[in-house]
């Protein structure tokens, strides 16, 4: 009884439920694509999430639920007024998580450097950064992602410092907390993978060190290994899959993206035509069917009234695969040699059998599925597949032999369950989809080919999904419930495919990774004209350029110290301690920055400025550690005591005050500004447009 109630409540959240988004210019590709696909239209399980937004969705959903959001607002365009919708709960939740970044960074640096001033400096940099502030104020995924990344980093550092008391309560606590945060980070966005990589590297180094410690028995090392496997692999995976399990449970309704998923997946979505479906069991001549490829995220065999363009094979009707449900996915299965209407009630029902020669007629255009010795448009090794003939009359190239893979189910062909292959009679090739996206002329649907290589891959195996035949009795199909791991795998495949599909256009200005650390250009959150209320996502330039300088300085000083140590220089105790902080602590943070920044150079998809923010957190921590250590080294170098202390204090203080003052200058970017644009001397931001590329 309780359970029922709970589910009912949850369903109130199912309404279209997207997060806030923005776009820089009307129609700029960023905002809309971003918002629409990253955020699951709640209630419909078949979103094409390119981000694993599950955890987020639930967290924000929870917050929204608690604060009484009724889920009816559509979130379609930035700048839309929220009117009576209560969004403060959700925004507050994001801001709450975002504000945790500062204490997390403070504690991490404190632990790494054992220096209060370094920790304070880091905390100040993050507090006074307008970018972090802006990003945390709105309903976005980034504050949540950064929260989990920093939480993972902090607990990793903490458990490293517990290393001398293994298997104690705090050790277990921090270790498992690392695992939990990792699950959270991965659950928000795939960018969470980078922090997992960092924790993984740290753990491997740790284990390697323990393994080399001959005072520990192999059993003890084994225990260490098991503890880490449990806390850092098993626990996060369990949590991650659990969030997905809840996600699938909550979102059990059919939605617009159903076609992306396999027939089996769809059968568990209420509202989908395959849910509790009852359709004729065996395939018969004259049935109207849809044919779906077995490989994930390929779609239905499809044709439409467009020809292949000139120069690409024969100029006949295109045959593609299409991921959405559509009338053009319908085909009629016919005998190869007669054109009589099999649905004529005077004929008896004749079932299609394994090995039969058939013809597939496209229902809307009455053309036959056809193949011939022409190169396929993209996969040149394969043959082209076209729609041919008029009103179902074609030639012998329209004949296909239908085969059931494994022939487990006897002679007749079962709808949904039989895995079938279609073999072209004349050329002997197999109908398949290459999974490649056709250019514009093919409406960016996927290519269908006939492969002369009879390799058995999922690309060339199909199943019949819809089956309409009035002459046959319908039976209920409840056999199709897929197991949870299958659902999990399939939804990830679909997400990854969706993610890699976002390619930038040639003639558009796009944000490049090298723009980010130099704060080259921000992102408009809302408002364009001088009368609008404008929020502009831009890092505090003082903080960011200081960070940039610090990285260079770190590389320089770090390599000097490393070479000195390698040369066997005898360092005084204090310098040795400081250089350990610089190399160990700083190194760890630098690794974090590297891992969160450089992979973006390899990504072909569209990138945005806000992708840099996780890396920026690490870079700020590095700045804190570096300046503190350098100032201390400086103070040590100058022998006279009072002056030396002064240098350190004055240095840290001036950095703190400098960032605070720059925040005072730039705070309108985050808290919003009205009035003329910055090039106008009347503007509140006049004189602050230090780079031409900033457009506020």
């Amino acid at each position: 009884m309780m359970r029922m109630k709970k589910r009912k409540r949850r369903k109130r959240l199912k309404n279209p439920f997207q997060l806030e988004m923005w776009r820089e210019a009307p129609g700029a590709p960023c905002g809309v694509a971003m918002g629409r696909s990253c955020l699951c239209t709640g209630g419909t399980a078949t979103e094409t999430c390119r981000l694993a937004a599950m955890t987020t969705l639930m967290l924000i959903g929870l917050a929204g639920y608690l604060s009484g959001y009724d889920g009816t607002f559509l979130f379609q365009k930035p700048g839309d007024k929220y009117e009576h919708h209560s969004y403060m709960g959700m925004r507050g939740f994001c801001a709450f998580l975002g504000s945790w970044l500062v204490p997390f960074a403070y504690l991490t640096v404190l632990d790494l450097s054992k220096s209060l001033s370094a920790a304070l400096l880091t905390a100040a940099l993050l507090t006074f950064d307008t970018g972090c502030l802006t990003l945390s104020q709105y309903i976005l995924l980034d504050p949540i992602l950064m929260f989990f990344i920093m939480a993972a980093m902090l607990s990793m550092v903490k458990y490293n410092s517990c290393a001398n008391r293994p298997f104690s309560a705090p050790w277990w606590f921090w270790l498992s907390l690392t695992g939990v945060s990792l699950a959270g980070a991965l659950g928000v966005k795939f960018v969470g993978l980078f922090i997992i990589l960092q924790v993984g590297l740290n753990t491997i180094a740790d284990l390697w060190y323990l393994f080399g410690d001959l005072s520990l028995s192999l059993v003890t090392v084994g225990k260490h290994l098991t503890a880490r496997v449990l806390c850092l692999i098993v626990l996060p995976l369990a949590l991650y899959t659990a969030t997905f399990a809840v996600h699938f449970m909550v979102l059990s309704k059919s939605g617009p993206g159903d076609g992306f998923f396999s027939s089996a997946f769809q059968a568990r979505l209420s509202g989908n035509n395959l849910h509790n479906a009852s359709i004729p069991e065996h395939l018969a001549y004259g049935s109207v069917i849809t044919v779906k490829n077995l490989r994930m995220a390929i779609g239905y065999l499809h044709s439409h009234r467009h020809l292949y363009p000139e120069g690409i094979g024969a100029r006949q009707q295109q045959v593609t695969t299409y991921l959405h449900k559509d009338y053009n996915n319908l085909w009629i299965i016919k005998k190869h040699n007669t054109n009589s209407d099999p649905l004529d009630p005077s004929f008896p029902v004749e079932f299609v059998r394994h090995g039969d020669i058939i013809r597939l007629e496209h229902k809307e255009t009455s053309r036959n599925l056809h193949s011939h010795y022409h190169e396929a448009p993209l996969t040149r090794k394969h043959y082209q597949v076209t729609g041919y003939g008029i009103n179902g009359t074609g030639d012998s190239n329209d004949f296909w032999r239908i085969e059931v893979v494994n022939r487990k189910f006897g002679n007749r062909i079962k709808v949904l369950r039989s895995r079938i292959r279609l073999i072209h009679l004349v050329t002997g090739c197999v109908l398949g989809s290459s999974g490649k996206v056709l250019p514009k002329w093919g409406w960016e649907q996927l290519e269908v080919t006939c492969t002369p290589y009879l390799k058995e891959t999922l690309n060339s195996i199909w199943n019949v999904e819809d089956h309409i035949n009035p002459k046959l009795p319908n039976i209920s199909l409840n056999v199709l419930q897929p197991s949870f791991p299958e659902i999990l795998l399939e939804s990830h495949m679909v997400m990854i495919r969706g993610n890699s599909g976002l390619k930038p256009k040639d003639n558009e200005f796009t944000s490049k990774p090298w723009h980010w650390p130099i704060n080259y250009q921000g992102l408009r959150f809302s408002g364009i004209n001088d009368t609008d209320f404008r929020v502009y996502l831009l890092g505090n330039p003082v903080v960011w350029w200081l960070n940039l300088l610090s990285i260079a300085l770190y590389l320089l000083s770090g390599s000097i110290i490393a070479i000195a140590i390698q040369r066997g220089a005898q360092l005084p105790a204090e310098v040795a301690g400081l250089s350990q902080v610089l190399l160990r602590g700083g190194g760890q943070v630098l690794l974090g920055w590297t891992l969160h920044y450089f992979p973006f150079f390899l990504m072909g998809r569209v990138l945005y400025f806000h992708h840099y923010f996780p890396a920026m957190l690490f870079s700020s921590m590095l700045t804190g550690i570096l300046w503190d250590t350098l100032l201390r080294l400086c103070a040590w170098g100058l022998a006279s005591w009072p002056l030396a202390r002064g240098i350190h204090v004055v240095g840290i203080l001036s950095l703190l005050l400098g960032t605070a003052y720059s925040f005072y200058l730039f705070h309108p970017l985050a808290y919003g500004m009205v009035g003329p644009l910055a090039q106008d001397p009347q503007s509140p931001m006049a004189g602050l447009r230090w780079l031409d590329s900033w457009d506020f």
Binding site: A28, W208, K381, Y453, D506, N507, Q566, G568
Partner: protein
């Protein structure tokens, strides 16, 4: 002094007969019937056209790699006296008599042949036995894919040659390091490493992988050197060691400073390669001074530096654009095709297909061909004249201008109407006054992007400018979309309202330019049709040309339409694919790029064994259990770092690449695998076989395995050399894998 009278002069020469024999066999296998087939085979059709360009000294641009590789091939043509007259258009086309096939194919074949003794040397330098070294060389000798690839005008064998040379010379240098640093041979091998690396990079960008590997290995060794306390510090007398370096004294390892060691390595491995790389381009640009078919991709300034082509047109142009100048404006970005700002009589359709309306004014497009309609006149908004006053008043940065279309005298205009294909930008038109309260908005502010100061004058060809609309601050931009039939498939021009940063598609430069002199429209039209006169000549510096060329090469993205024989990296390891290179026009004699499957499979196995053994040893060493003797371990590690590492760097990056890949991309990785194979075999025999009996059995197995490799090589020989026509039945028997595409004629 007169010693030679007292003692006889003796010349002792150590001749390693096995090395000589290997070289001989290598030459035989690669050079045998080199001119057969006397037809264009596979990618010869691609490289051949560049050889012809070199022979005719015509400029070209090829994004497949730096010019050194092409130059090596062209050298063959030069030595053979090739005049470049051959139409490289079809695989299988018969060579005409003026094509010196033998000398064209000679250099790759020599490189391939010399790889065989080099493999021997490398394994020897790794301190493995003579037997293992022979094994490596013999495997290289009978590898069918390597033979096929070396016998044709292709670059892989040359690349492999330089890769191996880099490894070999580094090893020689490293072995010198122990007993005689800063000796003559030390310097020689160190320099040769750098030279070989840069040659490898110069042939294909793939050479970068080996270069990075060598740098990494050298860095690790240098790091050890820094830790070597016996060497003096930086503080030691630098001049002293410089002198030692110059004199090349032997055995001066003590007292030489670390700094000198590091400096020598930095010069040889970083500076020399960069300088050489620039040199390749320098020679390339010196050789190719005539304009050719690839000019269009380059900027106007670059084109003007070539002989003929644009230079002929622009030679006499005035430099400074003045009010009244007649100009053609080329888009700097030039994608999808290079084009010029254009307009013509036709107007935008009143209603588009999707129901949106237009201003119905005259179309403005970007047109990829030279045309009289590409001419625009720069007009001063304050005056009516369309001629250049005397003295000419030059246009400067920030000036307000109107652009008047030469043939129709309508002026360039943009307004708050959605552009035909990019509805978020403004439509750009030539203004027609329909009297419907839509006033002309034809004022543009000129911004010179690459200005030195704010008072810069707009210069022909050199200046890159943006046109910012005065009323709406929209920027004139090439959107990259093709207009439908009503716009004659020309490219769409829009006014980008929210210009987000600098993008080349908004930047234009003047290409053709002259001072307009005619008052009357009729006269002006005649003037537009006639070419310009006056003389100013300009030349770009080498660095500017190099940077532009390099940038274009890297930015040029060939449309990755899939090739019939392209394959994915996963298929390479197990040789699941092949490439049909050539088929005899009548018989079924054919050449395939098809590897020796025994070698491929056992190479991959050896790699797996190496990885397993290494991790096992590493774990055991960590627990202080040393399985290998003191000297065997570093040997094993170095061999692995170079051979397994060489395989990894030459193979794994392909998984990240999005371009079309072919089986031959795997060949460099394969050679490193072949080097690893005997290393692993010897290791097993030395350290894992416990008794003499086991050792003998193992050797017998190795011999049996090698003979099977020989047998496979011999069986596939007809497909490697293409000299024998096989019956369909025999061909079918050779199709050992379903995925191999062996051509069988149907009669």
């Amino acid at each position: 002094m007169w010693g030679f009278l007292k003692r006889p002069i003796v010349v002792t020469a150590d001749i390693n007969l096995s090395l000589v024999a290997l070289t001989g066999m290598g030459l035989l296998s690669r050079l045998w019937r080199l001119t057969y087939p006397r037809a264009v085979v596979f990618d010869e059709v691609y490289y051949g056209q560049y050889i012809s360009f070199y022979m005719k000294r015509i400029f070209f641009l090829d994004d497949s790699g730096p010019p050194f590789g092409h130059m090596v091939l062209a050298l063959g043509g030069y030595l053979g006296g090739f005049d470049g007259h051959f139409l490289w258009n079809r695989i299988g086309a018969e060579y005409s008599s003026n094509v010196p096939v033998w000398s064209l194919r000679l250099l790759p074949a020599l490189a391939g042949a010399l790889s065989v003794p080099m493999a021997y040397q490398i394994v020897l330098e790794l301190h493995f036995s003579h037997c293992a070294a022979m094994g490596a060389a013999l495997l290289m000798l009978i590898e069918n894919a390597l033979i096929t690839q070396s016998r044709l005008m292709l670059l892989e064998s040359v690349l492999i040659f330089f890769n191996l040379l880099a490894v070999l010379s580094y090893l020689k240098f490293f072995n010198c390091q122990k007993h005689s640093p800063f000796s003559l041979s030390w310097w020689f091998w160190l320099t040769l490493t750098g030279v070989a690396c840069s040659c490898a990079v110069g042939i294909k960008y793939m050479g970068m992988f080996t270069y990075v590997l060598m740098l990494a290995v050298a860095a690790v060794h240098a790091w050890h050197l820094i830790g070597d306390q016996t060497l003096s510090n930086v503080g030691a007398d630098v001049q002293c060691c410089m002198r030692q370096a110059c004199v090349g004294q032997m055995g001066m390892s003590q007292g030489v400073c670390v700094f000198c060691h590091l400096l020598a390595r930095a010069v040889a491995l970083l500076v020399i390669p960069v300088v050489l790389y620039l040199l390749f381009f320098y020679v390339h640009l010196i050789l190719l001074f005539r304009s050719g078919p690839h000019d269009q991709i380059m900027s106007s300034a670059f084109q003007a530096s070539l002989e003929g082509g644009l230079a002929r047109i622009t030679q006499g142009q005035p430099l400074e654009v003045a009010f009244g100048s007649q100009v053609t404006l080329r888009n700097v970005f030039g994608k999808p095709v290079p084009c010029w700002l254009h307009s013509h009589q036709d107007t935008y359709p009143m209603i588009y297909e999707n129901g949106r309306g237009s201003s119905h004014q005259q179309q403005v497009t970007c047109y990829p061909f030279k045309d009289v309609n590409n001419w625009w006149i720069v007009k001063d908004p304050g005056r009516h004249q369309l001629v250049v006053s005397s003295p000419p008043r030059p246009v400067r940065h920030g000036d307000m201008v109107q652009l008047v279309h030469g043939m129709t005298t309508r002026s360039l205009n943009t307004h708050d109407v959605a552009a035909p294909l990019s509805p978020h930008s403004q439509e750009v038109s030539c203004y027609i006054d329909y009297n419907i309260s839509m006033p002309a908005q034809n004022l543009w502010r000129l911004e010179i992007v690459n200005r030195g100061s704010d008072a810069d004058v707009w210069k022909t060809i050199l200046s890159e400018v943006r046109f910012v609309h005065v009323n709406t601050s929209a920027v004139l931009k090439l959107s990259g979309a093709h207009l439908p039939d009503w716009g004659y498939r020309q490219l769409e021009i829009v006014g980008e309202k929210l210009s987000r940063g600098y993008h080349e598609s908004m930047v234009w430069n003047v290409e053709e330019h002259r001072y307009g002199a005619s008052q009357e429209q009729r006269e002006r039209e005649r003037e537009l049709h006639s070419p310009a006169q006056v003389d100013v000549s300009r030349n770009l510096s080498f660095m500017a040309r190099f940077l532009e060329l390099q940038w274009r090469m890297l930015a040029l993205r060939s449309d990755d339409s899939e090739h019939k024989y392209s394959s994915s990296p996963l298929e390479w390891v197990t040789l699941d694919t092949n490439i049909a290179y050539w088929l005899h026009p009548r018989t079924s004699a054919q050449i395939h790029l098809l590897g020796n499957i025994v070698i491929w499979i056992s190479g991959s196995l050896a790699l797996a064994i190496y990885a397993l053994l290494s991790s096992w040893y590493l774990l055991r060493r960590r627990r202080n259990i040393h399985d290998l003797p003191q000297d065997a371990w570093p040997r094993w590690v170095l061999a692995g770092a170079l051979c397994a590492g060489g395989w990894a760097v030459n193979y794994l990056p392909f998984f990240l690449m999005e371009k079309t890949l072919f089986l031959y991309h795997y060949l460099p990785a394969l050679t490193f695998q072949i080097l690893l194979l005997p290393v692993v075999l010897q290791h097993i025999s030395d350290h894992l076989c416990r008794s003499q009996l086991q050792r003998s059995v193992f050797s017998a197995l190795v011999v049996a395995w090698y003979s099977s490799a020989c047998h496979v090589s011999h069986t596939l020989r007809p497909l490697t050399y293409g000299d024998k026509s096989l019956s369909p039945h025999e061909l079918k028997a050779l199709r050992w894998k379903d995925s191999w595409d062996i051509l069988i004629r149907k009669h």
